[in-house]
């Protein structure tokens, strides 16, 4: 479903080009749960941005569902993100003035859905993360864990091909983090493809496959046997 071939990414910094990604080849199949790990500066965030269609590689091809998205225009990328990708951020990135339900509706607004359908879909997504009773609360009236659940509902609402989580537990206490990871696990068991970026080994152990990035290259790519996966309550 995801197929990266020879991905390079350079950034201009002053007079010099900094090579961040130096030829990444990676495939992710439907229903996988992949953790991307690596120290800061390894290029994992850049890789994440490219896979998430937020950014384009300098060279190389990125096939998403068989479509080469590495050379699309900004608005075409926006449409890909809208329909196929659900983002979950470390800092939740909810819009503070909007209720949980409105936040969840946001991708549907840009997808051109009718208000009545939007509301129904948003409530369904909130139900999947167990937050129907919080639909009219604003982010500042919710706990960190609840906010992240709203963010997950927002990512789920369009039924994306992939869920992208960037350090999803980074701003949460251990117990709440465990709850969120359990939720990802359940979503994955239900068929969602999950790609998660993390630098915490414990968090990565929840996935089925760990890809290590170092100096812009894939350092290792290993599958976690089911019995070695982190235990979930």
């Amino acid at each position: 479903m995801i197929k990266l071939e020879g991905i390079y990414k350079d950034y201009r910094q002053g007079k010099n080009d900094v090579k961040v990604l130096k030829g990444i080849d990676l495939q992710v199949r439907e229903g996988e749960y992949v953790a991307i790990m690596g120290p800061s500066g390894s290029g994992k965030s850049t890789l994440m941005n490219i896979i998430g269609a937020l950014d384009r590689p300098t060279s190389g091809s990125y096939f998403l569902d068989g479509e080469d998205v590495s050379k699309l225009e900004d608005d075409e990328l926006a449409s890909i993100r809208n329909k196929k990708i659900g983002f979950i951020f470390q800092t939740f990135n909810l819009l503070p003035r909007m209720t949980a339900q409105r936040n969840v509706e946001l991708p549907l607004v840009y997808g051109g859905y009718k208000p009545s359908i939007r509301k129904k879909m948003a409530m369904e997504a909130l139900d999947r993360v167990g937050l129907t009773d919080r639909s009219h609360h604003r982010p500042n009236e919710m706990s960190g864990g609840q906010r992240q659940r709203v963010a997950i509902a927002r990512a789920l609402v369009v039924n994306p091909r992939i869920l992208f989580a960037d350090e999803p537990t980074g701003n949460l206490d251990t117990q709440t983090g465990e709850d969120i990871l359990a939720l990802f696990r359940r979503l994955n068991d239900d068929g969602s493809t999950v790609v998660m970026v993390t630098h915490e080994h414990d968090v990565a152990q929840h996935s089925r496959r760990i890809v290590h990035i170092r100096d812009g290259l894939i350092w290792s790519d290993e599958t976690i046997p089911e019995d070695k996966r982190a235990h979930v309550q």
């Binding site: 937020l54 950014d55 900004d74 926006a78 993100r81 983002f87 990135n93 991708p107 840009y110």
Partner: protein, 405 residues
């Protein structure tokens, strides 16, 4: 994004920062308020002026032969009394007065003077109201009976009748004797009495003067000049046009020109209108500057909003907002701010117009297009000055926007 969606979201975003928004709006409010109040004051002033302008002939249309069409080009034609009847029939509500003037010698005893004899229809003094120091004006009955009566001015009455017994006395004008039936008082504001008469004018019934001419050579009496008072100042151009079209129809045109001059005596009115237009122009300019300055203020507020909400823009783009979605969102916001300011300004401007009306004792007039103009202008300010911030917002790279602290 749908319109309603955009409006609610804009309202929401704007209300989030009330004080800042209101401060930035002050210029907008003042600008639109001045546009509205100046336009209203202008309308009130011109209404007031139209009332006063009436006395100086603002409704007057004069019709006479167009001498520019020379005999070489066309046989000269004249209006007839039939045309006068037809025009009176056609222009209901207008006052049509015939005028004929000639120089005659007037003699009383040993005093002999050349005077200007003006034959007039009785409506003449309705058009040019005059105070009579004694006697009465010429009436329709005088005309019907072909009464040889005349009205003199104070000066000439005194010149012919030094003893002050002019009224009822007889004065020989040309070859006929006329009885003096009225004496016109000296006009305070001579310059304003723009009927073209002078102290040397003697007024006589129109038909009486007409009969003193020998028309046998021309077949029928000619009408040399008409003075027509339109029903209102506003109706002057349309009345003049319909008179001209009647005359063109009756007598044809020469090189596309009517054989008669149909002239609206609007000179004085025009002068005042010009002055007023200049004054409104200056005030409009000041209002324009204040709108411009407020536009810059709005631009500043929007730039700050875009920079404060960079992360929000990043999130929106991440979940699928296109550049055009972000652009229209921020344009909608600045439009919303400006329209809110515009509406507040219109309300304030209406209040100011009320105060102007109360202070000046002018009757309150609010031209329907004043609030409209203010609304359109404020919308334009919003769109124009919101463009740069909205473009900045739309151009943000999602990755950069998302990582901004």
């Amino acid at each position: 994004m749908r319109l309603l969606e955009g409006i609610t979201e804009a309202a929401d975003a704007v209300s989030h920062n009330k004080l800042r928004t209101i401060l930035s709006l002050l210029g907008m409010i003042i600008g639109t308020a001045s546009v509205v109040s100046v336009m209203a004051a202008g309308a009130m002033m011109s209404h007031e002026f139209i009332d006063q302008a009436d006395s100086i002939g603002a409704r007057l249309i004069v019709v006479y032969n167009n001498w520019e069409i020379s005999d070489a080009q066309a046989r000269r034609v004249f209006m007839s009394n039939r045309d006068v009847d037809a025009l009176r029939e056609q222009e209901k509500g207008a006052l049509v007065v015939r005028l004929n003037e000639t120089n005659r010698n007037a003699i009383k005893g040993s005093v002999s003077k050349s005077i200007s004899v003006r034959g007039i229809d009785p409506g003449y003094w309705e058009m040019w109201p005059r105070d009579f120091s004694s006697g009465r004006p010429i009436t329709q009955a005088d005309d019907d009976e072909l009464a040889k009566v005349c009205v003199l001015t104070d000066d000439y009455a005194a010149a012919f009748f030094p003893e002050g017994n002019a009224l009822g006395s007889s004065l020989t004008i040309g070859s006929f004797d006329y009885t003096v039936i009225g004496v016109i008082a000296r006009q305070e504001n001579e310059a304003l009495m723009n009927d073209g008469s002078s102290t040397e004018t003697a007024f006589v019934p129109y038909t009486v003067l007409e009969r003193t001419f020998d028309w046998s050579w021309s077949g029928s009496p000619r009408v040399y000049e008409l003075m027509i008072r339109a029903p209102s100042v506003v109706a002057v151009p349309s009345t003049a046009a319909s008179i001209e079209s009647y005359l063109s129809r009756m007598y044809g045109t020469v090189d596309g020109k009517c054989r008669f001059k149909v002239e609206a005596i609007e000179g004085a009115l025009k002068a005042v209108r010009t002055i007023f237009a200049a004054v409104s122009g200056i005030i409009a300019f000041i209002a324009g500057i204040s709108l411009f300055v407020s536009g810059i203020g709005i631009m500043n507020v929007m730039l700050v909003a875009v920079s404060e909400r960079t992360r929000e823009i990043g999130v929106r783009k991440a979940v699928g907002a296109k550049s055009s979605d972000i652009m229209s969102q921020f344009l909608m916001e600045s439009l919303f701010i400006c329209l809110a300011g515009g509406i507040a300004g219109i309300v304030l401007g209406m209040g100011i117009a009320r105060v102007i009306s109360a202070v000046s004792k002018w009757s309150y007039v609010m031209p329907f297009n004043a609030p409209l103009v203010a609304l359109v202008v404020s919308a334009c300010v919003g769109l124009f000055f919101g463009l740069v911030p909205a473009k900045n917002a739309a151009a943000l790279d999602p990755v950069t926007a998302l990582t901004k602290e």
